[in-house]
Symmetry: C2
Subunit: 230 residues, 2 copies
């Protein structure tokens, strides 16, 4: 399986790791380390810490240069849309990284291989490992293949913040009162689900659920935008 990964990143991205241990570590989840204590492995969490910052800089620099007239507020929103969990998890899937992460059995059985948070961390760990192995320019080249063409195609310009978008749309005809109401929350603390409704001048216009209050509000706004379009 690991050889397949090596072949894949060589063929798809012309990347060959000098220090193979770094690549292994990037694809080792803490649940796997915990289940194989005798192997004395390192999980990918520290690499993720580093990779997160590498990604942040390269995306910032790219946006700064790509959009020379864009004000800081908009740059910040766009960066947030690109580096958010769902986006990074999707990039990890596109690179087929989800096939190669080493998981513990519990994590595997509970669907960890499909979990956005885990895949997002994996993507960042890979960037951290690549940065340590080959430097900033190599990570930049990788992102030029995987992320930047999508930005240029407008994938992050429109849907980045549903709440802001909804406000813009609704207030075109004059001032209205938009409020988000938390209807219900359920489940244990570490996997709590929130139900939110969004109202415009006290009329229900959308509903959404999410893992956080903010996420549920974004989902409700997105739902309202869709309803408005139809």
């Amino acid at each position: 399986m690991e050889n397949q990964l090596v072949t894949k990143i060589k063929e798809n991205y012309q990347i060959v790791f000098e220090e193979m241990g770094l690549l292994d570590q990037a694809f080792t989840h803490s649940s796997y380390v915990n289940e194989h204590r005798n192997l004395h492995l390192c999980d990918n969490e520290r690499l993720e810490f580093l990779g997160d910052a590498v990604l942040e800089l390269l995306v910032s620099q790219y946006l700064y240069r790509q959009f020379p007239e864009m004000p800081e507020g908009k740059l910040t929103k766009m960066r947030a849309a690109i580096v958010r969990e769902d986006s990074l998890a999707e990039f990890a899937r596109e690179c087929a990284f989800d096939q190669f992460i080493r998981l513990g059995k519990g994590e595997e059985n509970s669907g960890g291989r499909q979990r956005a948070a885990l895949l997002c961390d994996l993507f960042e760990s890979f960037l951290g490992a690549l940065y340590l192995d080959q430097g900033l320019e190599a990570v930049h080249r990788f992102l030029q293949t995987v992320i930047f063409p999508k930005v240029e195609a407008g994938a992050f310009s429109h849907e980045m913040d549903h709440k802001t978008k909804l406000q813009e749309v609704l207030q075109r005809g004059g001032d209205v009162l938009i409020d988000y109401r938390l209807i219900k929350e359920e489940g244990p603390a570490h996997e709590r689900i929130f139900w939110t409704e969004v109202y415009c001048d006290n009329q229900l216009i959308g509903q959404g659920t999410g893992r956080s209050k903010k996420g549920a509000e974004q989902a409700a706004a997105q739902n309202a935008l869709q309803e408005l379009k139809e």
Copy 2:
């Protein structure tokens, strides 16, 4: 005044800008641009956007290497303590950057030159300008003078998270119930102040105020820690 800045950063940090316009821009606050529209200046906000990410990467990389055994959670906390507003504002003051920022009259008269948020942004803008002018290695050298020795001296290891620290201290003798109670909030939304009390097993052990609920809780925890020491 600008010449003084040029001399200062040359003497203190051996930095000479190739593109002087970048240095000027880093020291130009939006309030100054707004009051001198005829000059068609650029404010420092875009440079701040970039500098923020440059700082994040260099601090992350430094911590990653400096503390090879430190788990990700602790690295993240330490990074947050170093790059937080108050810390960066203090670095800006130590570099005497506050003397050289160009402010509008309104901002000047309302004490902008002492405001932590403004000085934090200024520090990041300078890093962004230096990065564009001379690359990552130059910013790294600058941080090696200004920030990293303080990390090595332990300036960020201890006081980074008072709530965690308080919990550690109080629970040494066994399980206790610690809770933070919001007592009062006052002032308009953009400058609201929160009063918080912290209780251990229903006994008041500290009080604090802050610009946010979290800030007030940290202040209350810090106060409790101080009281415990005395």
